[in-house]
Amino acid sequence: MSVFVDAVSWACLIAGGVFCVIGAVGLIRMPEFFTRIHAAGVTDTLGAGLILLGLMLQAGFTLVAVKLAMIGVLILFTSPTATHALAKAGLARGLKPLLAEDRSKPSNP
């Protein structure tokens, strides 16, 4: 494996790890439920994507890389579904989001 691919893959792994930690820090820092979902989104998309990309570069063109791509697609399709279900369930159970500005009313008289 060339040194260049190696370097890019390490950079992806480290950056992915950092983004995962940032998402988790956001999970702790955000003031209430709906804003915390946004922080978790960073972990789910950029963190996961970069780590899987780094591992794929390490694996090269093998079945292992295909499996990693499958995990990536799986996370890509399922995480929004779970997030949407969470947000909808929260709203349906009467969890009031903390709002700076509510523009949902005018179009729904």
Binding site: F19, I22, G23, V25, G26, R29, M30, P31, F34, T35, I37, H38, A39, G41, V42, T45, L46, G49, L63, V66, K67, M70, L76, F77, S79, P80, T81, T83, H84, A87, K88, L91, P97, L98, L99, A100, E101, D102, R103, S104, S107, N108
Partner: protein
Amino acid sequence: MYTLSSILVLFVFWLLLSGNFTAFLIAAGAGSAIGVVLLARRMEVVDHEGHPIHLSWRLVTYWPWLFKEIAKSAWGVTKIILNPRLPISPTLVRVPTSQKSTVGVVTYANCITLTPGTISVEVKEGEILVHALTRESADGLLEGEMDRRVTRFEGRR
């Protein structure tokens, strides 16, 4: 048509997962792929919504743009999280949708949720209730570039 392509996709999935190419394993894979699709047909879930092959080739132009958007907005959310003052201005906003089919609306809602900073809370006829982390991300969504791209991705039938 959809039955055949479902069987094919499942069989390729089996081969990639197993990684062993002996006669018995290939036969078992083909058998289970056909069995699963027959069961799915009995449940009447094999149609163009469960398995939209007519959309496959448009993914090539749509996904790179989506990945770029995800990276951009994830970077924005990262900056907000790391900012000691935590400059958030959560906003609820109703976004109109222009897609015709259910698949199109679901794709749009999923893409809204997938980009950090905006989540779709409720999907209704012709509009999606969106919770945005900042006013700017809500405004960006209302400009409607993603809406237009998803509509183009959905195409005409």
